[in-house]
Every structure is written in C-alpha cells, then in structure tokens.
Symmetry: C2
Subunit: 400 residues, 2 copies
Amino acid sequence: MARLDALAQHSDEPGKLTRLYLSAAHKAAAEELAGWMREAGLTVSIDALGTVLGRYESASPGAPALLIGSHIDTVRDAGRYDGALGVIAGLVAVEELAKCGENLPFAIEVVAFGDEEGVRFPTTLTSSRALAGQFDPAVLDLCDADGVSLRNALTAFGCDPAAIATIARSREQVLAYIEVHIEQGPVLEAADLPVGVVTAINGVRRLAVEVIGEAGHAGTVPMRLRRDALAAAAEMALAVERAANSSPDVLATVGRMEVSPGAVNVIPGNVRFTIDIRSPEDKQRDAATEEIVRSIRKIAAARRVELSISTMHEAPATACAPVMIDTLTQAVQHFGLAPHLLPSGAGHDAMAIARLCPVGMLFVRCAGGISHNPKEAISLQDADICVRILLEFLRNFKLK
Amino acid sequence: MARLDALAQHSDEPGKLTRLYLSAAHKAAAEELAGWMREAGLTVSIDALGTVLGRYESASPGAPALLIGSHIDTVRDAGRYDGALGVIAGLVAVEELAKCGENLPFAIEVVAFGDEEGVRFPTTLTSSRALAGQFDPAVLDLCDADGVSLRNALTAFGCDPAAIATIARSREQVLAYIEVHIEQGPVLEAADLPVGVVTAINGVRRLAVEVIGEAGHAGTVPMRLRRDALAAAAEMALAVERAANSSPDVLATVGRMEVSPGAVNVIPGNVRFTIDIRSPEDKQRDAATEEIVRSIRKIAAARRVELSISTMHEAPATACAPVMIDTLTQAVQHFGLAPHLLPSGAGHDAMAIARLCPVGMLFVRCAGGISHNPKEAISLQDADICVRILLEFLRNFKLK
C-alpha cells in the first residue's frame, strides 16, 4: 500500500493523479518502479514502448516466463489502484519468492505497461499489443492534443522507435499472463468477498438508434393521432433493459438519449439514443442484440414511427484460459474463501496479451465499485490477501 | 381568401410572414383592415392598445354588441390563417348582412386584437384582456428585444397609453364573443369535417421532474445493482402516456428530456424531463396529474431512485358557454354537417374575453394540423362554409 501511495506522487497535474503515457510523470514512475525491481533482485529493462519489465529467473535459466502485470498510466484525476495494483502485487509476490530463495519451474516477469487508458493518444493497449506481436506502426504518427506524435513522445521518453519490432514475444518464450486488477464494479462488495476470478473480458456491441416520429403541438394533437418519438424510445429503452435482465451475463445500457425539438409543449418528433450491449460470450451478446433489435422494430411498427439502427462499435469477448481460472479458483479456496467467478466489464491489457498466450485475471474488491476517480479505494486486508492468492497461484501453476 | 392573402403581405420580415404587435406591418395591416371595414359600412375605431374595431349597428341603435374576432399579430415565419381568418370571417359575415340591409336585434363588432402570440413583448393577450377589464398597467414597462417599452411602442403606433382605461367594456355593452380560428391540430382532418365546435380551451399544468439514480460503468455494474435514472424515466414517460390514454379528454406529453452524464458507456445517473398535462376540465386535469404523480413515485420507489417534482406553470381551463356551443351546433347541422365538439389545446383571445361575457369558438380544419408555419393552409370550401355557419349563428343567436 505504501508503494501504491508513493507511485501516486508521480503526476502530470499538481493536486491530483494524472499520469499519461510517456509523460514526465510516467518516466518518473517507471524509474521508481525499476529501482524497486532491482532492489528485489530482478533483471530490469524498459522496452521501446516504455514498458517496464523485471525478470525473476527460473530454477532452469532461460525457461519460458509467466508474465504478471498491468499498467501504470492513468486517466485524468485518477485513483491510485487502477493498473498500479496489478504491477505492485506482482512485484511483492516475486519479492516474497526472492526473499525465500524460492525458484519456480518457470521464470516470472513483472510487466508495467504504459498505454492502457488511451487518454493521451487516440489509441490504446499499444504497449501490450506490441508484446503480443500486434503492433501497428501507423500509430507512431498519431498525435496528442498538443500535436506531439507518439514517435516523438517515445524519443523524448528515451525509447528507440526503431526497436519496437523486438518487443514481440514468441509463444515459446511466454507461458501465460496473469493480471491483478481492481474490479471497477460493485459485485464483490455486494458479495462481501475480497477477490473474484475473472472468466472473460466482455465483448461489446454499440448501436446508434434514431426514432423518427412526428412533432406536434402538445395541446392540439389527440393521443391516438400521435407518433411520439420519445414515448417510442422510452418503450425501447425498457425493452433493452428487459433483454439484459432475461439473460444472466448480458449487460445492456441506454447511456445517451437526445430528444428534439425538446420543448415542454411540443410532442417529440425525433429521438436518438445509444445501446451498449456486453457479454462474456459473443453468442450471448449476439442473441441479446437480436432480441433487442426485434423488440424495438416491433415497438416502432406498433407506434408507426420510423427507425434507423446502426452499429457504432464492436469488439469480441476475450475468454480467460480454463487453466488460469482453475488454478486461481484453487488458490482462492486455499484461503477458505468462496471462489466468485465473474466477467470483466471493462477492457484490460489481458485482452491484448490473449493473442499471444493464455490469460487470467484476479479482481480485487474496490469501495463502492468506484474507479477512474480519486475516491477509488481498496483495503489493506484485501491487498494482502490478493498477494497471498497470487503467490499460491504461482506455486501451483502448471500449464497442462 | 384574397383578403387573407392581401393581409399576409404586411410583414416585418421580407420573404416570410412575421407581424409582431405594434410593428410597422401591424400598423399597415390594421389600416388595410380598417379600410375594408369602412367600405362595408362599419363604424371603425382603433383603441389605445391598437385593437381594430368595426361596429355594425343593431335595428335598435345603441343595443349591446356581439363581438366577433381574433387577432392579426403572428408568430415569426407564420402562416396566414392563424388569427386573421377569425377577423376576416367576421368581416365577410357582416358585409353579407350589410349587403342585404339586414339588421339584427344586437349590434355586431368585428374585433382584431393585436397581441395574442406574445412574441414581441414578454406578455400575451394584452389587448383582449384590456377589453375584458383585466389590463395590468405594469406591462407598459415591459420591453422587447431591442429595449423598446410597450408604452413607447404604443405611442409610435399612434396610440395614447393614457386612454387604455377606456377600453374596458361593461357586461351590459357586450352580449357574447365568438371566435373563428383554424384548429391547429389534426382532429377535424381525421374526422373528414370542415369545422368543429369548441367546448373549452384546455387548462394546462406543467411539471418539471428530476430523477436521481446512480451513474456507473455500463460494463461493470450488474443489472440488478443498477439505479439507472434513464430506465426509470422511460418507465415514467410511459406512465404519463398511459394516464392520458385512460382519460378521454386528457393530453399528456413528455416534451423535454435531458440525460446525464450522457455517454454511450455510462449508466445515466440523472434525468430531467417535463410533463405537460391538459384537459378541458380542471377536475380531469387534476385527477390525471395525481395519477401521474402517484405512478412515477411508485416507479421511483421500485427502482430505488430519488425524485423531485415541481410545478412549472398552471392555467385553468376556459369553458365555452352552453348557449354558444348549442347555437353553433345548430348552425353546423343546418348545413347537413355532423357537429363535431372538441376542446382547444392552444390558447386564444377567447380565454381573456371569457372574464367579461360568454364565449364560443368555431374551429376550421387546417391541412395536416399544421400551424405556426408557412405551410399552414385551409381550403376555399372550408372558408366558405365557416362564414355561412357564422352567418347562420348570427341570425339565430339569442342570449337566454
């Protein structure tokens, strides 16, 4: 917890925690972290995209590595646990092994990625994608709000963009990836449990819907002659909610709704709204999407309004590997805790690394489910148990 | 119809019809109208608030008058029938009487009010309220967007503000008021009828509602733990519609809805919306309001969201006098037409005059229910029958 507090001092904005990719605060945090890693006896490097890596050798030197990590960039006015917890948990677990002179059948690399939040440049997961061999050189020309390209920001950080190609790991070098992360949701708190085992990172589909009815005078058009776009959209929003409620792992949200003309005495003629549909399984998400689209088409027909539906965004779900889920579950049970399996609603570096190797995630309860906010908080007890579970996992992990 | 076209030439804005209270276009329209009245043999005056009055004497001179009128001001980019039709219909009916030398047991005054739309100054019905003895001298100090006070605008128009007190009529001088007006709604068109008899001008109550739930990540908060302000507001909007559908003469509209924070991936934490509730009877409107408030409180409780409801505006209904409704109904039936009784959803000068004497209104079908728009249209046939019905009304009108 002291290290997390220390890391939170490195900020680009005074009085709050904002640590953007390749900023001065990122550089300072990376160097402090590298120092802690060296003190723990790890072999430290910072790769061509600013990722800090600390390697703890196996009993048989040069053995493939298990990666433990997360990210050390933050959103603006962030909390201190999102990302950093996963890096420090990995470091503390390895320190514990080093202290006992305990070597495992595999190497461990503690990894601190630098670009998970995607705040500074219009891209995200750049550093973890590169490690998985999925780097897209086009992103080097993307610029931040001040017009600084990613390429120039890398050079200023002390990285060599020409060396990016060397970041990619081969399947043979890497056994698996495990990421400890705060939950960023209220499920574990509601279940009164310190940790949960992630089954998958939800896939998402986002729809933009436009309902075209007929505007009219709120005082002169009888109810039966109306084609009220807002009444139709309201019925559709409830159909979205109903579709999610009827499928255990599906989440569906109408987050934006714009009503026009939007006057107190005018029947709304046009409503635009968005639907965000998520599920740990793409099949479930697709089925929920179909049900939602069927429902809202039916509502539109019954209310004689026109409808336009388009897909804004789509990303498939990332399943956690059964071996990771099982080994983590056993580690949780080892401490007498009920294993709580849950999907991740937010995206993580594990999504990118899943292209390379099996991934697993351990979620830690956070107060009120709050994240991306200075109020973000975890307890000392929960931090302690999550490291103990991580150690237990490491000691038992075997790729079948 | 030619006179309505001619009147529409008097506009404050080139290329469209905008005739604001006491403007140069209002002055020109008032003078053209006064000329037509004089040609028809009426005794013409323009009162201290710019109202044009043309008196057609009774068989017994000095007898009380029946007023026929409406307004000749318009909204910006208006149609040519809203208001003007009622004035010209009155003029044409009286011309018809004059042509035949036919005098009635009462005088007739054709009245063209100047401030019904309330566009130029932040007040409305100034001229008709004054005639009913309800003038509020405080409005003289209200200013238009250019900082011109109503007092100075009156002087510029050629009126004497000091003479406003003389505008008020006594109950003995006035028998009743009848106003012909386009419907501004789609009911008559849907019923395939040229005219309808107005039963009342709807009262209105407007509520502002705020729903306070809890914002959250669309990917991490399970459905059962959500307090989604938009899902709650959607259910409430449908309850508003349902309350109106279950009461024959009640209209209820959610016209404005603002959702925050309003991001595609964030569960809405706060929604503000408006409810406009109208009915020809205040008791019905109050009962519908109570039902709506009861329903939305229940929805808020079930969804664990907070609720704040406040009244933004309230105006009682104005009933048309039974004698006016009956005589108009008989006049409609005289021409073999089905009498269609309907409330008026919009406000009219008749609301102000009802403080003085019995009022009645005859609605004329307008294309598509459209008004306050250059597309506003009536047919020559409908204009013709409305004047014939007005004449029939005049010939049979007796205050019981």
